[in-house]
Structure formats: structure tokens, C-alpha cells
């Protein structure tokens, strides 16, 4: 399973590096979203700082949709999904590889967006440990849930429009938990950020388990 995961994840990341979709389209899109939020709340800088955590995670969420769509669009042309099925790769390995590649792209994006939030919105990093751990766990949850639902929609002609409808409601707990944990870490809320991180960890564990156990059926039925 792990050998197959490394193989599929490496292939997906190589395809992304070559196509430059992540660097030339997804990353500029993420920065644009942040800038537009900045323009919208420009007259109220205090509000912008207060909302920085939520805006960051909304931007990450929107970009995760693009990353997941891209991950499955490369398996939807010229029989590549049949090629994967014929290879005899372990479906759990395919899931972990594809989710891992999406997560790696999201991590790079979060570093970029985090820098943007600090510079543009003037966010103050009070608890870097909670920030980093929350980001890591939320990223795993987003990538795992996105990969499960991405595979579910992969074989459909309407996948581009259906995928956001499937994924956004499902990952709403990630948006809520990550925003609350980050607000605590940025000193903007008195809530216990670690409890919210626990919720995120549970979400990630559930979807990683669903992916490992259920991806075989999804690959066959897609």
C-alpha cells in the first residue's frame, strides 16, 4: 500500500510540476481571493484582522476544490483511469497517494497564504504551535475528504459542477474548526483552540479511514 501511495503521489506531483497549474493558476487565484477580501474590508482594518483566520480558511477551502478537481481531471482523459485499474495498484495506495499529493499542494499554498495574511491583514501569531498543528490536521482532513468525494464524482460528465456541491458541505466542519482554532492561536478568541483541533483530528481520521477502506469500491464504480 505505501509503495503504491508513493508511486501515485509522486506521479501526481510530477504532473503538477510539469503542467504548472498549481503555481500559475491555483496560487494566483488564492492570492486574488485574499486581495479581494482585503478590498472588501479595506475601510475597517480591525474587522479584517479579526476575520483573518476565517478568510484564510475560506481561501484554502476554495483552492482545495481546484486541487481535487485537477487531481481527478488527469485521471479522466485518454483512459488513464483504466490504466490505473489495470495496473493492479492497491486502491488504498491510490487513495493515499492522491490525497498526499493534494495535501502537499495545499501545504505550499497555506505557507503562501499565511504570509499574505500576516502582511496584508496584520495578523499577530500568538501560538505558532497551535497554528501549525491545526493547519496540518485540517489539511489532511481536506485532502482526504476531497479525494473520497472527488473519486465519487470522477466518472460523471457533470463532475466539475457536482464536485463543489458534494465537497463544500462535507468539509464545513473543517472550516469551522480550523477558523476557531486559528482565532484562538491569533489571540482573537478566548475559546480553547486545542479542543477545535481535536475535532479536526477526528474529521481527518474518519475520512482517511473511509478512503483506505472504501476507495476500492469507488475506483470500480466511478
Amino acid at each position: 500500500m505505501w509503495r503504491d501511495a508513493v508511486l501515485v503521489g509522486g506521479k501526481d506531483l510530477r504532473v503538477e510540476l510539469r503542467s504548472r497549474v498549481a503555481t500559475m493558476q491555483v496560487a494566483p487565484y488564492a492570492i486574488l481571493v485574499l486581495l479581494l477580501f482585503g478590498f472588501a474590508f479595506d475601510q475597517n482594518h480591525a474587522l479584517l484582522t479579526q476575520a483573518a483566520a476565517g478568510l484564510f480558511w475560506v481561501a484554502v477551502l476554495l483552492c482545495s476544490l481546484l486541487a481535487v478537481q485537477r487531481s481527478f481531471s488527469i485521471e479522466s482523459v485518454d483512459g488513464t483511469r483504466d490504466g490505473l485499474r489495470l495496473s493492479g495498484l492497491d486502491p488504498a495506495g491510490i487513495f493515499l497517494g492522491k490525497a498526499g499529493a493534494v495535501a502537499a499542494q495545499l501545504v505550499a499554498l497555506e505557507v503562501l497564504l499565511g504570509f499574505g495574511v500576516v502582511v496584508l491583514f496584520g495578523a499577530d501569531l500568538r501560538d505558532p504551535g497551535l497554528l501549525v498543528l491545526t493547519a496540518a490536521v485540517a489539511t489532511v482532513g481536506l485532502a482526504a475528504a476531497g479525494t473520497v468525494y472527488g473519486m465519487m464524482a470522477a466518472g460523471l460528465r457533470v463532475r466539475e459542477t457536482l464536485m463543489p456541491l458534494l465537497i463544500l458541505p462535507v468539509v464545513a466542519p473543517v472550516l469551522l474548526g480550523a477558523t476557531q482554532a486559528w482565532m484562538a492561536a491569533l489571540g482573537q478568541s478566548s475559546a480553547d483552540g486545542w479542543k477545535w483541533m481535536g475535532l479536526l483530528a477526528s474529521f481527518a481520521a474518519i475520512y482517511v479511514t473511509i478512503g483506505i477502506l472504501g476507495f476500492s469500491t469507488l475506483v470500480e464504480e466511478a
Partner: protein, 229 residues
């Protein structure tokens, strides 16, 4: 050979796409080392039969065994042991020809050292192995897909219109590849509308119509032909 289990053994095999029976009770035996040509009109069920043999199209009733694996119970079991070369190339446009072949070989658990000689055999030399597949011509893409097949060296080759898109030189090369594979113990089933060329390869011709086998002909002994329906 007579006491060996056939590589393909279908009995009253039925496969559905949606609710439509694309295979409507197929009876077929293919022995090891045979080259069998499937012929029939468009929509007769040739591609469906090849996909069923590859474990990609589920057989829902009847008996279907390929390389000893029961396709009705577990169609995944046979996939790593067969190679399917069809209309689609299953290649990633953003990867180079060599990367595509290496990925396919590693995914199938084969030796990565087989990639280089396979590319060379298909005439993919010079800058071609390091060129992104998306930048190659249709014929070159098909040669890369054939290099994947050659490098994987499966026990059963399933070829759907294999000569399409290839020039005369590479059609000859493909025929040589098929004969070599059979020489090394592989079995080949091919579907083709280019009967002149395909009949020169095949040891047996099977006619498919309406999702069933309707006739089987030995091209060297046509009087021994069997008309099933």
C-alpha cells in the same frame, strides 16, 4: 497443450453496460500461445469482450475465467497479468514518454529496466523518450502505449484495433512484437477491421455479433469452420 487449462474460458458470459447486455452469452475458449482475431461490425461487442477479459467490464452471469482467475467473483485478480491496448492510450500528457512507461511498469510490479529496451524497440529514440507525451503525434503516442505493453510483458495481450494510427513501418514492427510475445509464451486476442493484415497474424478468427460468438474459423483450414449461430 490439450490437457492445459485455456487462458480464456467463457461460458454463457453476460456483461451489462447500464441495463444493456453488451455480452449476451459468450462462449469462447482461447488456448495458451494462440493468436485469435475477433471480427465483427461496429457495436458487435468486440471491445466489450476484450474489456471483460481484462477484468474492466464486470461479467454478471455465466462462467468467465481468464488465466485461471474467476472474473465473476473477482475481476481485479487478473488485471496485473493482462495488457489492454485500445483506442485510448492511458498516458499522462504532462509526463514524458519514458516517465509514462516507467510509471506503468512500476505500477504493475514489473522490472523498471524493461522500460528502456521497450522504448527502443518501438523506435522511440533520440529526443522522443524525454518529450512530454502531450507534444507527440497520435502515432507516436500509440507507440508509447505499445512500449508500455511491451515493457509490462503481460501473459495475455488484448489488442483493440492495434494497427490504427500507425504507419506501414510501425505496423510491421507491431506484428513482429506480437509474434515475439507469442514466441515467449504469451497469448493474444485482437479485434481489427484491417482483416488482410490481422488474418496474417491470427491462427483463428472468431466472429462476434450482437454480443455473442457466432462463428469460429481456422484461416488455414476454412472447411473446418464452426458456425455457432
Amino acid at each position: 497443450m490439450a490437457d492445459m487449462d485455456p487462458v480464456i474460458r467463457f461460458r454463457a458470459a453476460v456483461a451489462l453496460v447500464g441495463r444493456f447486455p453488451v455480452l449476451a452469452g459468450v462462449d469462447l475458449d482461447v488456448a495458451q500461445g494462440e493468436i485469435v482475431l475477433l471480427q465483427g461490425a461496429n457495436g458487435a461487442g468486440k471491445t466489450s469482450l476484450l474489456r471483460a477479459c481484462a477484468g474492466l467490464l464486470r461479467v454478471v452471469s455465466g462462467d468467465a475465467r481468464v488465466l485461471g482467475e474467476d472474473l465473476v467473483a473477482n475481476p481485479r485478480a487478473v488485471r496485473r497479468r493482462v495488457g489492454l491496448f485500445g483506442h485510448a492510450t492511458s498516458l499522462y500528457d504532462d509526463l514524458t514518454a519514458a516517465e509514462n512507461v516507467r510509471f506503468a511498469v512500476r505500477a504493475a510490479g514489473g522490472p523498471i529496466a524493461a522500460a528502456g529496451p521497450a522504448l527502443e524497440r518501438l523506435g522511440l529514440v533520440g529526443r522522443l523518450p524525454t518529450t512530454a507525451v502531450g507534444a507527440l503525434s497520435a502515432g507516436q503516442r500509440r507507440r508509447v502505449a505499445l512500449a508500455v505493453l511491451a515493457a509490462r510483458d503481460p501473459e495475455l495481450w488484448l489488442l483493440d484495433e492495434p494497427h490504427a494510427g500507425l504507419d506501414a513501418e510501425h505496423r510491421d514492427l507491431l506484428d513482429g512484437l506480437i509474434r515475439d510475445a507469442v514466441g515467449h509464451g504469451a497469448t493474444v486476442v485482437l479485434a481489427s477491421h484491417e482483416l488482410d493484415r490481422a488474418q496474417g497474424l491470427a491462427g483463428r478468427i472468431v466472429t462476434v455479433a450482437g454480443g455473442m460468438i457466432t462463428a469460429a474459423v481456422d484461416p488455414f483450414f476454412p472447411k473446418a469452420s464452426m458456425h455457432v449461430a
